[in-house]
């Protein structure tokens, strides 16, 4: 499994597709807790990889990356991503993020306009602590968190067998043995004037049934060069509507 040393972490990543001459690779960041790179890797990323290189990576503490005790704030996540870009010698990229991964992509885009060409923000929650789906997380209650998941995702945690036990153990560790809950609670909103300063062309993808659907409208209004697409679905849009999300991203990056 390819890992790269970045910001004192061992980050697991996977490359899909090939980089053509002059193409900008697209890096995909997933969401927190129940997520890892597989939701992009088996979802939208291979669709994008039909035309350009796609790079999926596991956030710290997730998937096959190292198990950090702290650093689950957006700033550290952004520093991890920049360190990953450095380590992989990627000078200019497009970034796509789901939920918390979208906040990381946005942060990197704001801080490094020279390195980020376009961004795709899928279900970016601002601020994350206001997201209904996060209520169980903020109370460190795995049961409540799982009850908010769509059926297709819930199944993976509730069968009582090997896979579900592993997933539940991982969730428990992140909620009770790391700074994740405190980091999320402390994560603030981004002021309007910061969002007005986003330089990149931005694709906003939101689920009509998601509790952060309204954030999509706010970002569409404030980010100067943004396009909003609202799809049938909830917060876990990149997994729920993977193929459609992939097609929209591909069209946006090629346009």
């Amino acid at each position: 499994m390819p890992h790269v040393a970045a910001n004192d972490q061992e980050l697991h990543f996977q490359l899909l597709g090939e980089r053509g001459e002059g193409d900008t690779p697209c890096v995909f960041a997933h969401g927190l807790l129940i997520d890892n790179l597989s939701s992009w890797y088996f979802g939208a990323a291979p669709v994008v990889a039909t035309a350009r290189e796609a790079i999926c990576y596991d956030l710290r503490g997730h998937g096959l990356s190292s198990h950090a005790a702290e650093g689950y704030d957006v700033a550290t996540g952004a520093a991890d991503l920049v360190a990953l870009l450095d380590a992989l010698e990627l000078n200019e990229v497009d970034l796509a993020g789901q939920s918390f991964g979208a906040l990381i992509a946005l942060r990197v885009a704001l801080d490094h306009p020279d390195r980020v060409r376009r961004i795709v923000l899928c279900e970016a929650p601002l601020p994350p602590s206001r997201l209904e789906e996060m209520a169980g997380v903020l109370r460190a209650d795995p049961g409540e968190l799982l009850a908010m998941l769509p059926d297709s995702l819930q199944e993976a945690f509730t069968s009582g067998k090997r896979r579900a036990l592993k997933a539940a153990r991982r969730l428990e560790r992140l909620l009770t043995e790391t700074s994740l809950v405190a980091d999320l609670q402390a994560e603030g909103d981004l002021p309007d004037e910061v969002l007005q300063g986003v330089k990149q062309q931005t694709l906003l993808l939101y689920g009509e049934a998601s509790s952060c659907r309204g954030v999509g409208d706010r970002l569409a209004e404030l980010i100067p060069n943004a396009r909003l697409e609202a799809l049938d679905g909830g917060h876990y849009l990149a997994a729920e509507r993977a193929k459609d999300v992939g097609a929209l991203i591909l069209e946006f990056l090629d346009g």
């Binding site: 899909l16 597989s38 088996f42 979802g43 291979p46 990889a49 998937g63 993976a156």
Partner: protein, 88 residues
Amino acid sequence: MTTLTTISGLIQEVIGEDWDLEEEITLETTFSEDLELESIEFVALAEKMQNTFGDDVDFVNWLSEKELDEVIDLKVGDVVEFIDACRT
């Protein structure tokens, strides 16, 4: 070595110390229900298959064309069939 034997070995590597399946892996074994493979383990398996069978076997692309319920119902035999088809 048959494709099935090779894939069985790769699956055991991925599952590692958690391995407690008493029955042998057959063409009828399902990844989700029988093997309880996690999606991140499936990523690791895809990589091992790519390394073992070469770039002609574009497993991720094959998988990306399937709907979610088709992926969940995948049998080891489906993958064997796909790999054999790629190599002939």
